[in-house]
Amino acid sequence: MNRVHNTKIVLWLITGLAAAIALNRFVFGLGATTNLNDEVPWGFWIGFKLSWVALSAGGFVIGAIFYMMKREKFHSLVRIAILTAFLGYSSFVVSLIFDLGLPWNIWHMIIYWNPHSPLFEVGWCVMLYTTVLVLELLPVPLESTSRYAAVRKFLLKFRFPIVLLGIMLSTLHQSSLGTLFLIMPRRLFPLFYSHIIPIEFFISAIAGGLLMLAFETLALHWMYRRKLETDLVRLLCSLSVWILGLYFLVKIGDVVLEGKVGLLFEGSWRSYLYVGELLLSTVIPFVMFVVPKWCANRKVQWIGTSIGILGVVLNRIDIGGFAMRDATLWYTPSWMEVVLSIGILSTAALVFIFLIETFHVWDIQPRDPEALAHTPPLFDRVSGAWLGNPKTSALTRHTLAFVISFAIGMALISGKKLHAEGIENVTVRPASGIDTLCINGNRDSQYVEFPHQAHIGWMRNGKISSMTLDSIHYVLRTGADSCLVCHHLNLPGEKLSICWECHTSMYSEVDFFRHDWHASSSGANLKCDDCHTPGETRTAQTARKCTGCHPSYTFADTAGNGADAYFIPSYVDAMHKLCVSCHTIESRVLKDKPNLALCSTCHRTGTPPGLRAGMKWDVTLPRFDNVVLPTPVPGVK
């Protein structure tokens, strides 16, 4: 099994999936991609990418250890560490592009300053530090050509101040990322909120950075099947023990000094989250690495570093949007959020692999054993017969992986209008009652009463006082003032249509023309030409109107004026349009009923008095219970 190759395939698969989601993000917006909402406007994306910055801290830590403290042992790690940092920060910025609502304005930070904002400071630091990393990294690719030797020499000459600047900038933004959350004492759960978040962030970033480097070294050796320089990993792990210990003390100290111990044992999911995070990010890796014998064990190294990294990630995600003070503030990230984030990391990993295979970043320059150059198909030299293709090249397989998973991603994304507009698909529930309808399509705490009699009486100027079958038909058939105003008589068989039978969705339009049924042999069994004029492009506009076959359909829009006419309005829109337009006119005409057009005239709360005994009245959707729909103004009729 070729580990390098398989790893790459997996990475390409994830990247393809993420590319589809990235497209979705820009075509349909944030609401269609994430589960973020007005209550939790930051979530998984922010938290997760904060952890990338933390795990990139190896770049400056190794810089400090190697260049400042002259620990030569770490030499082989320097370039890897800087490359990791560079890719970590680049991923951060790329991911920001998806996260920001208006990413094309990101450069505004350069021209519009707000020095009070921690985010402003972080932004600048990240910009500068990424530049520094490029400067630190540039000599590596320049090695391969002698053309830019002068530039390279120049950069190397200033290496010390550049590294120093990098360390200073890192100190700043690693902690400032914590400062971001200082303004949210009202939002964050007290266990997570602390006045020393910046310090905690800084320390945990150092630990995380070291563990990440150890993990990377392990992974690289595993991938390229090299014998492990256990010593180096052991060195990193035993170094991180100190930092992990310090981090633990700082965290526990904060909890104790701020009197938050009680919360630890509160038993809510947030306290479990905190304890779990504490275990993962400090206690477990600390215990694993503090014993020198364990520290040198390969398995322990694998597990310990993974757990430590997981802990840092969990910490950032918790603070970035999950650990809310209010237990009801909770959101579950959408699968697209998760996959897009992981996809960005996969891309970064692919770039990483490409760079270490192309340049001298690591102490060796590894090769992908299957990175075959493309070879043409084989032909028999004499007859010219095709002998078959050689093994598909790695490139082909990677492209294939990307394309296939991109397609799967596209298929998985629901591109519906509804989904993009965040409208919940609430199916309309029928009204109850006959003489007096109790209308409550979404079964919330408000209802509308519709007394049939009053309305019919009004329509026919009080001439009809009791309804007989004859009179119903009479009313149905006569003019614009008839029952047809509400009952459009649009259903096949000229059935007296009931509102909720067609307006099936509370808040969104529905497509009512069932093309498949009309064309199917088990349905209307029509030929194309029955509706479409032969020779013309077959569209909804050019097709025969509904009234062509169903002459009794009366509602104007049903005539099929344009494709839109096949969409019938939402229940709410239909009701409002029907009632409000008449009520508005009548409220002006009828001097004794000035309040006819007020919402409160129709909308009521509670249980309708007109409900017959035994009729079910289930209020199942308490949405907007908090919010008032108007109730009658006291003293006004």
């Binding site: 007005d38 009070h116 904002s117 921690p118 949405r623 907007f624 919010v627």
Partner: protein, 256 residues
Amino acid sequence: MSKAILTDVTKCIGCLKCVEACKEVNHLEADVPRVWDKNDGLSAENWTSIIQKPGDHYVRKQCRHCLEPACVSVCPVGALHKTEIGAVIYDSAKCMGCRYCMMACPFGIPRYDWDQTVPHVEKCILCYDRIKEGKQPACTESCPEHATIFGDRDALLKEAHKRIREHPGKYIDRVWGESEVGGTSVLYISDIDLDFLSYQTRPVDMPLPKETSPAMDAVPYAFFGMGGVMLGLSWIIKRRMKLSEEKSKKEDSTHE
């Protein structure tokens, strides 16, 4: 002169005229429930809402126009701005959509156009343009009961205290917005507790930007401090290495 709104919860009858007026002057569209709504009636299309509390109490929710607004202090590009008049206004041309303002606001006010591909932050702007023209905000103008009124902040504060004094027992003896988070330009007097309007049950009086400022003030110290420490460290280590080298050289020479 700093302007303000005073809302008297006891007078509000929940007729929603203010909500309608706000929608009209700010050209907000009709809204339907969206999956990302918070259950308080505010949305990208509703900058003010009426919250009903048991016992026919109606509380109008809107941006509080804090005197030291958290949202303004955190916006990295200065898209939010506290004006002289007291309104906290929003410049959509500057915004980059980081939503930090939404996270920072202690009252959870700013909303987002989640369904848009060019989304903006949406919140009450105290009808800044109307005030500048010498008019009052649409919501206060439309209130039939004068439950929500507009005026100078000082005058309204006096009025609030006067009402509380003159009707003993009617109000809770507190003007919401007088001192919370450093004071706000939207004031409330009420006969029910209004702390539910903010995230924390009892908001402290310290302005939120003050939570960040110690850390922000420490920035130059951290920056140059770390630089100093690193320089010092590297100097010491270099010197030590040199010394030990010299020493070993000396030892070498004595051996010869």
